[in-house]
């Protein structure tokens, strides 16, 4: 486990002249019935730096036309698999550190370990499935696609979410759905204090206990359409639904906060 020496340029940019290492082994999988031929690749990230890993991913997806990449031993490094803007399948065999899979548009990513803070930040479309736990801020500012965490997540999951779906198989920490603006969150376990604090819109489904609701978050009744969405989403990812769901939405009292009388403002907060 030799520590890697990372070079910085005068502006503080890490590895300014890094190159894709080109260590991946690529094979072409022949067409099989309805499935067309495609190229798949596998590479080991253990000895590579963050920049090298991301450059190798880009080389494979953009230059080599690979649509199925497997990365081994990411070793909880930060900022891995970010900014990939193409339809492809990426399997990450291990755990990621902070800011994993951010700013992506299209990929279908499966992570067999856990992820740190801010996974899938600002993701536009695609799917991320994390087999174990996630840190805080999972799916921050998510715009679209599905983020699935089969384990527990930390605090402020889906902060500033503007679309898409976040599904959590375990428990979630405090301030889940903080400033949620659009999209939906499905939490199968318990949630911490301040659920849906200052949410503008969107919907949060909770299967377990709710420690407390945040400002301007209210409980609503589940309609037929809600059950349909929940059944479909959980079926896709093979997750067991809990006994019953509760649904939480915006109370809309903060929408016109400026027009409220001082006494009314106190009631809202």
């Amino acid at each position: 486990m030799e520590q890697m020496k990372i070079r910085y340029d005068a502006r503080g940019l890490a590895e300014p002249d890094a190159q894709a290492p080109g260590t991946a082994s690529i094979e072409t999988v022949a067409a099989d019935g309805a499935e067309a031929a495609f190229r798949k690749a596998v590479f080991d990230a253990e000895e590579l730096t963050t920049r090298q890993i991301n450059l190798e991913l880009r080389r494979l997806v953009y230059d080599e036309g690979v649509t199925d990449v497997t990365m081994l031993n990411p070793g909880a490094k930060h900022s891995i698999a970010v900014g990939i803007l193409a339809r492809c399948k990426i399997t990450i065999g291990g755990s990621l550190g902070y800011f994993g899979c951010g700013l992506i548009d299209g990929p279908e990513i499966h992570i067999t370990g856990r992820v740190g803070w801010s996974v899938a930040e600002n993701m536009m479309s695609g799917v991320i499935v994390v087999d174990k736990n996630a840190g805080s801020l999972a799916g921050a500012a998510l715009r679209g696609g599905d983020v699935v965490v089969r384990g527990d997540v930390g605090a402020r999951t889906g902060i500033d979410q503007k679309g898409g779906t976040i599904i959590v198989g375990g428990n979630a920490g405090m301030m889940t759905g903080f400033m949620l603006q659009r999209g939906r969150m499905i939490i199968l376990g318990d949630v911490g204090p301040g659920l849906g604090d200052s949410m503008y819109d969107g919907v949060i489904y909770v299967g377990g206990k709710v420690a407390s609701l945040g400002v301007d978050c209210v409980e609503d009744e589940l309609a037929e359409a809600d059950h349909e969405v929940l059944d479909r989403k959980l079926r896709i990812y093979g997750m067991e639904p809990p006994g019953a769901f509760r649904k939480f939405v915006c109370g809309r009292k903060l929408w016109n906060y400026d027009n409220l009388e001082p006494a009314e403002r106190k009631l809202v907060l």
Binding site: H78, G94, G135, A155
Partner: protein, 309 residues
């Protein structure tokens, strides 16, 4: 930003010097200003004291080396005068020393008397705790103070990005809980009621060597334990009495504890096995000392956890 790390062996001592160096070095990007270690070697009936006489980055005039020598002699003289039988004085640097001595009197009297020597700060005092802190990254500090191969049961460490106070040894973590034996703290965050607690603790007679908010946590906890509370109870009270954002690690002669504030604003990743517990601001630090694939999780807000060796 700062990075913190802790490790405790549950099945006998390990090479905590090397382990903590690796953990801290892997988080160098979180704080390159200074690095610090609080290491617990095998408990000894002798006391061990780490102290510094000057800062490495202060301007050195012509008489600097002689002055260091004179101050070191003065400290040995004062230790003898207050009733400590000095066994060993080791100087890893001209300005930083490790002293072993036999002493059974009041620690506060001893620490105050030693710190009365100009420029001197007692970094740690106890029967097994040794705090080593200096400027630059963890590998350089470990190299300068010969920490690789330091055997012990548990340790905490810190890499610092200075935000609230100066880049010097006084501002570096871990902080010893002056004047209580074998207690130290590292902290990631900011305390907003620092001045109030500092005044309260100063009224009880405690001294503070830096302007760093983290320094009060160690003294705060040690004072509570001195008042009869358990470590865990003291830490739980800190969640309500300390304001701001914090994740801190605290070590005593036989335990390692962690507490997170109610906003869960500062990160912490935890790995537990029957052999050891390792925790750090980032998972890369834990992986730097564990060779196999591991499962980790993040403790939630207001969590207080304590492990004993």
């Amino acid at each position: 930003m700062c990075g913190i790390a802790g490790i405790i062996h549950r099945d006998g001592p390990g090479d905590i010097g090397t382990e903590m160096t690796r953990m801290l070095q892997s988080m160098k990007h979180r704080g390159p200003d200074s690095s610090g270690f609080a290491l617990y070697g095998p408990p000894d009936e002798l006391m061990v004291m780490r102290l510094k006489l000057a800062d490495p980055n202060e301007a050195r005039d012509f008489g600097w080396s002689e002055r260091m020598e004179r101050h070191r002699n003065e400290i040995e003289h004062r230790l003898a005068k207050i009733g400590a039988m000095v066994d060993l004085v080791q100087g890893d640097q001209e300005y930083a020393y490790r002293v072993k001595f036999r002493y059974s009197g009041d620690l506060k009297a001893l620490a105050d008397y030693v710190e009365d020597v100009p420029g001197c700060e007692v970094l740690s005092l106890g029967h097994s705790l040794e705090i080593i802190k200096d400027l630059s990254d963890a590998e350089s500090v470990a190299d300068r103070y010969h920490l690789l191969g330091f055997t012990g049961s548990h340790a905490i460490g810190h890499v610092r990005m200075a935000t609230e106070s100066d880049v010097d040894i006084a501002g570096a973590h871990p902080y010893w809980a002056y004047p209580f034996s074998d207690i130290a703290v590292v902290h990631n965050g900011q305390l907003t009621n620092y001045h109030m607690w500092r005044r309260r603790l100063e009224r009880l007679g405690h001294r503070f060597q830096s302007e760093c908010d983290s320094e009060i946590i160690a003294v705060y906890l040690a004072q509570k334990m001195d008042d009869g509370l358990s470590l865990e109870t003291a830490m739980k009270q800190s969640l309500d009495e300390l304001d701001g954002v914090f994740t801190y690690l605290v070590v005593t002669a036989d335990a390692l504890g962690v507490a997170k504030d109610e906003m869960a604003a500062k990160p912490l990743v935890l790995y537990e096995s029957p052999q050891l517990v390792a925790l750090a601001s980032e998972e890369v630090a834990i992986r730097a000392v564990i060779g196999h694939e591991i499962d980790t999780h993040d403790p939630y807000e207001r969590e207080v956890l304590v492990w004993s060796r």
